[in-house]
Symmetry: none
Subunit: 202 residues, 4 copies
């Protein structure tokens, strides 16, 4: 009468596997991660993994998609419902949101997309549509609203929301490549925001 091994619900398996895969990819990158490693981390047999994901590439896509979820949508929601002034929102919730990105799973996904993206155009499209385009549109829309309200003046920045993301991206890349060289990413992002606001305020 052996103890029943605790068994996991079938439902959670895919999530557990993608989580394990995310960790593995984060550590070694996609190419250098073996399916075996992922299986071990997930506490699952290799065979089982292939029941949920037909190939390693499928798994990769699932991992990337799993990270994207909700994050952006929530920001968009906040943008639309906030009662703060435009400047206050930017200096508050938006800045805070931006500053968290370089240390978040998004940074890992960026790394993965840079390495493997060129071979997965559909994944890139997915990511662009669901994350980047939405995010940029939200920022752009928010700035336009500020202009409409008379809080901001019309400027090139309204059409180039990328400038808001530029220091975030540099921070992400820096963190990936130069693990030894410290960089105050919070300050970097905050300074850019300062500059931007000074530039566009009416």
């Amino acid at each position: 009468m052996t103890k029943p091994r605790y068994r996991r619900r079938k439902k959670d398996r895919p999530k557990e596997i993608t989580a394990a895969a995310f960790d593995a990819f984060a550590e070694h990158g996609f190419a250098a991660t073996t399916v075996d490693d992922v299986a071990k981390r997930a506490g699952v047999s290799k065979g089982l993994m292939y029941l949920y994901f037909k190939t390693k590439e499928e798994l990769f896509k699932a991992v990337v998609k799993s990270v994207v979820v909700r994050r952006v949508d929530q920001l968009i929601l906040e943008v639309e419902t906030t009662e703060l002034s435009s400047e206050a929102f930017i200096r508050g919730p938006l800045l805070s949101f931006l500053q968290k990105i370089p240390g978040s799973p998004v940074a890992i996904v960026v790394r993965l997309l840079i390495s493997e993206g060129p071979r997965h155009p559909d994944l890139v499209d997915y990511y662009y549509e669901n994350v980047v385009a939405k995010g940029l549109a939200a920022i752009s829309g928010f700035l336009t609203r500020g202009v409409d309200r008379g809080e901001f003046r019309q400027s090139a920045v309204t059409g180039l929301p990328h400038l808001v993301l530029a220091p975030v991206m540099l921070s992400i890349i820096w963190g990936i490549i130069f693990t030894k060289q410290a960089l105050d990413t919070d300050k970097l992002i905050a300074t850019q925001i300062d500059m931007l606001l000074a530039h566009i305020k009416a």
Copy 2:
């Protein structure tokens, strides 16, 4: 009139191989590029490659180093010898330099460093010291000089030359990942420069 099976060109080989490897890595990344592919592109036998580069990793390092050469040093020289006003220099030669980066081999190297850097700390160090640190120091020094001359005011930007590079980095990453989505990188970089100058002018 058959081609000779051999051509002896000891002098040129390393460069030829490095160039072929650069193209191959640019196309598929390091991991997904086979030594065979590089050899074929270089019009050379696999064996010969190992005469010049002991391993595929050695070749990788050689490729990265070959791209770095001089680019930055030349900018530094210009910075030091220019007779332009600080603003004129920034809007002229510096802007032009920055705008060329996203389309240059440097973008490829960035991609390679992001994918493979974590496994090649010495290469990262090399790159940091010879390119990044030098570049940042040059920009920082130039801004400080502007302050000394009364052209610029003291501000956080002087100590954060990264802000000058931020839109460049975003442009590089964009170019790598979103090949289909157009982005006017020239304008992005120019706008950042506009903002920066407006921000720091005395």
Copy 3:
């Protein structure tokens, strides 16, 4: 009625592979044997071999060790429990044991150790401790016991049990090198034993 492509026989595999490898090494030596050849002989894929033996060298060690097993220990046991007179034991069980060696797998192992031993000091140590030292000690001890019992006289041979093995070794080497030239190894060994006994009998 096709054969199944797979057979799962985890338990037997190592032995099967080791046996196949022994045959292959016996035929071509270690260096000239390819892993592919061993796999084919074992009726197994190359990949599987690496599941059980991390490298070709590991396999080599396993082969050598697999041959050593018990052979010597059994002789030692006999030595200790025999009720025969010393001379009778030597002329009987011991002689018979010695005469079987040149045609046994031990001869192959000797060949392998001669070729590859210098590059595998740990294997040589293992072999020395578990086979050679034990064997020599057993012979030496047996001779000493004979002296103690008054059956043999004290002589240089007691401390040089190697002399008992000398004709065995020559027979082994002869068998490896001069396959065409017959040598009556049984007689060679028996004659040496004759001589030795005549020499040491009280």
Copy 4:
């Protein structure tokens, strides 16, 4: 007016190359020695080696043959011309000759023949005819002469001169395999000679 590089006489080249090859083979064995290594040791280009030896195997044969030369013939000559009594000759020049073998190049050749001999039947034949057969015949003849002269009695040993070589062979093998375990080979060989003489003396 550059100094003329000293140039070697063409005549000596083959010898220089086989000498270098011998050293290399002695160190790493045949299979693990690269042609490049031999060329470097010989101070000669790889291409030149192929002018003298068509393949690596040719070189191997040349090396083995180069070591054999004269040694045995000289012993045979001595055997035939000595004025010593049979016993005195055995205890003197013959013993001394035997004792030198384990430390001589012959030991290396034995190692090479054991590893590679099976693939070079012609070489083995050559070696057998020119060294082993001659040597055995010489010893056998010498013993027979002793019998004829009434110095020795007729015995099995006369027809088994291998027994004289047995401890030599064991010493050679010991030296190859057990470099760490000391063995007094001189004493081993001398003791065997003692035993043999006691056995066959009239």
